[in-house]
Symmetry: C2
Subunit: 165 residues, 2 copies
């Protein structure tokens, strides 16, 4: 397969995957682009490559930096800002896990803590309490796993997987 074709497919696919992961398409595409480029890219270059506007490029590059998935790179003697992505896939995984935990799991845990103290003792309320307590437990376990993953310096996750098989 030709490089240009492969690159295009890859960027496109990454965008699609991103959208089913709560990350918007363009942000995922910029990330994909930075992942495979050798040199850091400027906003101009990103705009050009992905055929997007300046505003869009700017917003999504900032979002990537928010997520800890891209960094500014200053080139000596240049005013322009350049951007690069970390290419270590495990680090990316950790970053994404961290962000999603913060944005999604944490609020859910907070909510569950609030609502499991619902008053009453009708069958309905008992059932509600049972279900939400189960969810709370599950959320707690998930949190523990994610915390371990996030804090892991090396790759315990897959080391364990190796032992299991």
């Amino acid at each position: 397969m030709k490089y240009s074709e492969a690159k295009e497919k890859y960027i496109h696919a990454w965008g699609t995957l991103g959208s089913s992961w709560g990350v918007n398409r363009t942000m995922a595409q910029i990330h994909a682009l930075l992942m495979v480029s050798i040199e850091p890219l400027s906003t101009e270059e990103i705009m050009e490559e992905l055929k997007i506007s300046r505003g869009n490029a700017n917003m999504n590059v900032r979002a990537l930096m928010d997520w800890g998935l891209a960094d500014k790179v200053l080139v000596a003697g240049e005013r322009k800002e350049y951007f690069k992505a970390d290419k270590d896939i495990m680090k990316i995984g950790v970053q994404v896990a961290k962000e999603r935990k913060r944005r999604e799991l944490d609020p859910i845990i907070k909510l569950l803590n609030e609502i499991t103290v619902v008053d009453g003792d009708t069958a309905e309320v008992k059932e509600f309490r049972k279900v939400t307590k189960d969810l709370q437990k599950f959320a707690g376990q998930t949190e523990s796993v994610l915390d371990l993953f996030i804090k892991s310096k090396d790759n315990w996750f897959f080391k364990i997987l190796g032992k299991l098989r």
Copy 2:
């Protein structure tokens, strides 16, 4: 907290969570509703409770069944269909993992297999190959973990977690 308030918050939150998980809001809300109700619910009851149209209720109930998260229940002597959700949170987790793997991971693995055979040996192409191979490896490992999780009869995931801490 009053039951009605707690229930409302819970359904609302579940809907929000759902949307950042690739499941649409209404589908997640119907699921939340079925999770806490003691009896199976009819389309009418779902419409009433969530203030949604018949078409919407019907479509999303079907989607839930597609995902394996809800089942039809036939009540003797009734024409109407009723629906219930499995309340075992681990089973739900497994179902969701299964569906998402099929819809998201599988296509990515397929794509990576295609594009890692890109031809050329410029620095650019070499980098591309390196990055996509890493992704391929990561995707493969993720697949293995998911498969283990999906096939697990009991809860190995958290048993191991227990041993780790």
